[in-house]
Each structure stands twice: as C-alpha cells, then as structure tokens.
Subunit: 364 residues, 2 copies
Amino acid sequence: MNKSIDSLIKNNLSGKVLEDFNRIYYGKKHHSVLVLDSTNELDFEIAGYSLPAEKEQLRQPRIVRLGLIQHSIVLTTDSPIIDQRQAIFDKVRNIINAAALEGVQILCLQETWSMPFFLCTKERTKWGEFAESAEYGPSTLFLSELAAKYKMVIISPILEVDDEGVWWNTAVIINEKGEYIGKHRKNHLPSVGSFSEMSYYCPGNTGHMVFDTKYAKLAVNICYGRHHALNWLMFGLNGAEIVFNPSATISEFGETFWGIEARNAAIANNYFTCSINRVGKEEFTVGSENNITRSYYGSSYITAPDGCRTPSLSKTRDGLLITEIDLNMCRQLKDQWGFSMTSRLDMYAENLISYITNHCTNNQ
Amino acid sequence: MNKSIDSLIKNNLSGKVLEDFNRIYYGKKHHSVLVLDSTNELDFEIAGYSLPAEKEQLRQPRIVRLGLIQHSIVLTTDSPIIDQRQAIFDKVRNIINAAALEGVQILCLQETWSMPFFLCTKERTKWGEFAESAEYGPSTLFLSELAAKYKMVIISPILEVDDEGVWWNTAVIINEKGEYIGKHRKNHLPSVGSFSEMSYYCPGNTGHMVFDTKYAKLAVNICYGRHHALNWLMFGLNGAEIVFNPSATISEFGETFWGIEARNAAIANNYFTCSINRVGKEEFTVGSENNITRSYYGSSYITAPDGCRTPSLSKTRDGLLITEIDLNMCRQLKDQWGFSMTSRLDMYAENLISYITNHCTNNQ
C-alpha cells in the first residue's frame, strides 16, 4: 500500500522494458536527474529533475528552479497550538535551507501547511487559533524572512482569518524580497462523501489572479479545484506559466487519478503544473470519544506543458522535489498544439449562458 | 516501441507488485474479465472487461455492453477507392459479427473508419470520392443493416460530404433498428506541427448533442476535441452517460497522454469515456515523388466515472474491446464528488465573456 507506481517500477523493471515504460508513462526514456549538493544524511527525501525545452533563436532559455515541499505534522494534535505550529516551522525551515542550497527560486508548500488538517473533524472553535492573517500572520512572517534571506518566491497555503474574523482557504504569495504581494482564495470547496469544508469558509472571491513574480508568472489552484477544468483554464487564459496545486488528500479520494488531473491541466493549458500533497497520519479526538485518523499519500510531482512529468516523491516521507524547468516550453507547446487558436471560447461562453438560463431560473 | 504499458506490465510484474501497480494505475487490483464465447482463432484481438457499479435500493442496475473496434486499412492507398472501402467493410463486418455474438449493444468505430486517413497528405481532389453522405452514404447503409440485424446502436465516424458538396468530419449515429438518428460534426480541428485538417472542412456546427438511444445517452467527441475541456464539459451538461472519442493519432502527437485526457474527462464529468485509435501503417504517394507514412498506435480503452479504466487493446493489431458497464455509476459518482454542485458555472460564463471582450475586440 505504501509503494508508489514510481518505486514499484524502478525496483521491478530494468533495461529496455524500463525505457519503454518510462517513454510512455513519464514521456521520456530516462529522467534527466539534477546533481544535488545536499548530502544523503538529511532526514527527508530530496530529488531533483530537469524538464528542458527546445533551444530558440531569439529568446534565451528561461530556466527556473522549482521546489515543492511535502511534510507531515510533528506533534500530536492535542498539543498546544503554538507548539504544534513551531514544530512544523522548525521542520520546514530545515527543508527550505536545503532548497536554498540547491538554488530553488520558487517554492510551494502544501495546503494549510502550518497546521494539522483538522477540517475533517467538523469542529471549529477549538481549532480556530490555527487561523491567521494572510498579510501579517505567523506563517507569513516566518516565510518572509526566509524568502528575503534566500531571494526565493514562496507560496504559503494557510487557513486565513481576515480582519472581520471570516475564514478562508488561502495561498499567500511572498516575493523574493520577502514582501507579501497577494493571495489567492480556494475557488472550489469539497463536499465529498462525509467530508466537507463548506461549514468552515466560502468559495474564494479572488478570481484567477496570476502573480507576475521575478522568476515566472504563477498561479495557485488549491486542492479540490484541480477537479474543475474551468479553474485551470482561467489561470491559463490569464497568462500563468506555472500553476501550483497544494493539496491535502487521502487515497480513498482518488489516488488513482492523482497522476491524471494536474497532468491533464498542464497539457491542456500549455503551462507547468506542480502537485503537492501532505504525508503522514493525523489523529484527532472529536467530542469526548471519537477518533478520526487520516493518512495522506504524498506523491508530489511536476508536469511540463509537453505532458512529460517527474517521478513522484515518496508516499510516506517528508520530501523536497526540485525541478529545473525552462519557461520557454509554454509558448513552444502553445505553438505546437494550437489549442488557443482552436478553443472556440465565444461558442462556449454562449453555451454556458444558455445552460445557466435553462437550468437556474424560476422559469424551469 | 510496439509494446503498450499494459503488456509491459503484464509480462514483467506479478503477485503483490502487480496488484499494487494495478490498484493505482487502473484503479483496481484485478481486472474483472468477461468470459467470452468467441474462439481464439479470430484474426483480431478480442478482450472483455467489466466496470460494475454499486448496487442501489431503488434503481435496478443499468448494464450495457460496449464494443470498440480499432482496425488497419486493408489495401494499399493507390488501389481503386471502391475496392479499398469494400475490403475495410469486409474486415469490419467480421469484427461486428463477433461483437454481436458477445452481446454488444453499443458499438463505435474509429475516426473516418472506412478510408485511409489521407488528411495527412494535404491533397484533396484525388481522395474526394471517400467523402460520403451521412444520411445515405455507403458506410451508413452498410452499418444500418448490421445494426438492425443485431439490434445494435452503432456510431460511425466518416468523412461526410453534404448536399452542397461541403465536407465535414462527422460521426453518424444509427439506432438499434438500423435507422439514422443524427450526426455530430467534429468541433475542434487540429493544426498541429505540419499536420492540419483546416483546409478540408470547418469546425462542426452541430453543437454538443446527446443522443438518447435505447441503451444509453451518448455523445461523440471526435479526436482532437479531446484536448478541449469545454467540449467534454458541454456533453456532460447536456446529459451524456457515455462519450466516445474516435481518433486517428500517431505516437509523435502525444502517446504519452493518450491515457490521460479521456480518462480525466470521465472523472471530471461523471460519465464513461471510450477512446478508440486506429492501428497499422498507412503509406501515401503525394504528388509524383513524395511518400508519407503514418503509423497509428491503437491502444483503445474505456474509463469509468470513478477513474477506473480497462487495459488497452494492442498497439498494432486489429481489435475489439468489449466492456460491460453499469450506467448507474454516473449518478453515484456525481453524488460522491459534488462537481456539479461546486462548479460555479455562472462565474465562469462571466469570466469567459470578459476574456473575450478584452482580447477579441478592436479596442485592444
């Protein structure tokens, strides 16, 4: 259960058979592996790949190093909140230090990275102190310092509480000077089986903003938003070159297609997608007697616009996935496939309006 | 090069490792294999699977047997057109006879199944006699007889010429009485690399019709249309339970994501998708000297709304993929995932209109 497809394949196929598998499954016979400076003595997995583009005549390559972090919580969920958060900060600082050593320029953390994912408990009050300001909360302050120190753009998905006390599921964008430059609020909220986030916060009201950072134009599609093709599409229309999908998802909720959806979005929209999922088991005591346990399967990976993807990080270990990309690939694939030219968006805008008119009025 | 992922895996993994691979890759540890009556002496591959749904209290299962046919051309492309077509008819009749024996109720053929895919030649005049009427052309007449004989709904993708002499890339729908009940014209035309269909016909003008047949509500998304998320979405909004994707595609054009896009669409839209690609090598003499060769990689497969999929047919052989599905799974997954409830279509309709207004007027 704890083996990923990647490790199953690597451990059981070899030679020509492995090459054939890799060519179809990942999009290339051999992974281009980065040489990393970090030692093997780290207490987390570190892996590095390269997804290069074709050389062009008029443009220089636009090489960027991305870093994705997946991590488990550290203390039990009944520990003091400030201790739980600090322990996560300490762990993540350690991984970010390694990312800096490897030259990572844009780094993204998992959904609500600075807390256990208590949203499965249906409880609210006792966990409320994990909610924080996007602009000046502890996670933003903590990461701003590291962002400035390492000249790194950092995407920090948190549980936000705004000045009116309203909660949001939010990704904060911090630039390479350590400045808060904006936020994206999760556009689509899950209500899947017995799990629902709808009692905690509303669907996002920040649209599909693309952040024009020093290193790339980037956007964030938080967790369940990956199921909605139009969410991915709008980020693309707005000019995103990279879309991050920070998540917190368990194997019962579609591990089978964890490798499908973000990869499909990269192909359809001619941009890079970065899939991040937390790892580890989280146990909660709900009310006086009930226990809820949820195990996250990690498997973070990156897909290029040509459909090629990296192997996944582990299903169980903390990890840092570093990938060197060339942003030129976005336009190259746009030119190759012609999806924008053939998209007929005017027809679809009309179709959606007719559909809404026919299904959502009192005339029905 | 001629091995599919499916055969690589089946021939090289076993036991627990194979089960683990299958669980993540296909969505289940073991494929549910249908017992077939057909002998092994057929000159094409035949494979049968089952993709069952949960039992319900109020609804009976709605079991349907689907059949997909992938096939190569028979005669060289310089043979008389009537002979080329007749040879394909003879081959396909043989496969449909086997499908009937196995109880197939809805059958779909590959894109422009009754001709070589000459659209790669950029030539028009000399191939024009392959174009035929959707309503009363030879392919429709040929299949209508078999449809009536076997009480089979048949989807017949052809090169259509209408009464004004205009060409279309069209799928004809024939009901179980052998009656023509409608057609769908390809909504998005490829212009990929040096390959383009745009000089042959226009993008379809038949919208996203769903055909309410005796066995299921079905729709057709022809070939390149699988790259467009909104195309898949509209078929779903219009009530499709199964969407067929008859194709003619070569490995340079995205074999890496042949398994991704239609599967993603099945998950996102809570319906079954059926991916069909032709097989074999097709050689054309263009002008007086040039030769064009294109090899199709088959690999037809079916995905259920829960993301589980069948293995693929071969990359090289003619084949019949039979799959027994339960249409109840569509609503079950709609209920499970809540995508319709969380889709925010009104927001996206507005977004698309703003985008079009900002990018497609002379004010820019």
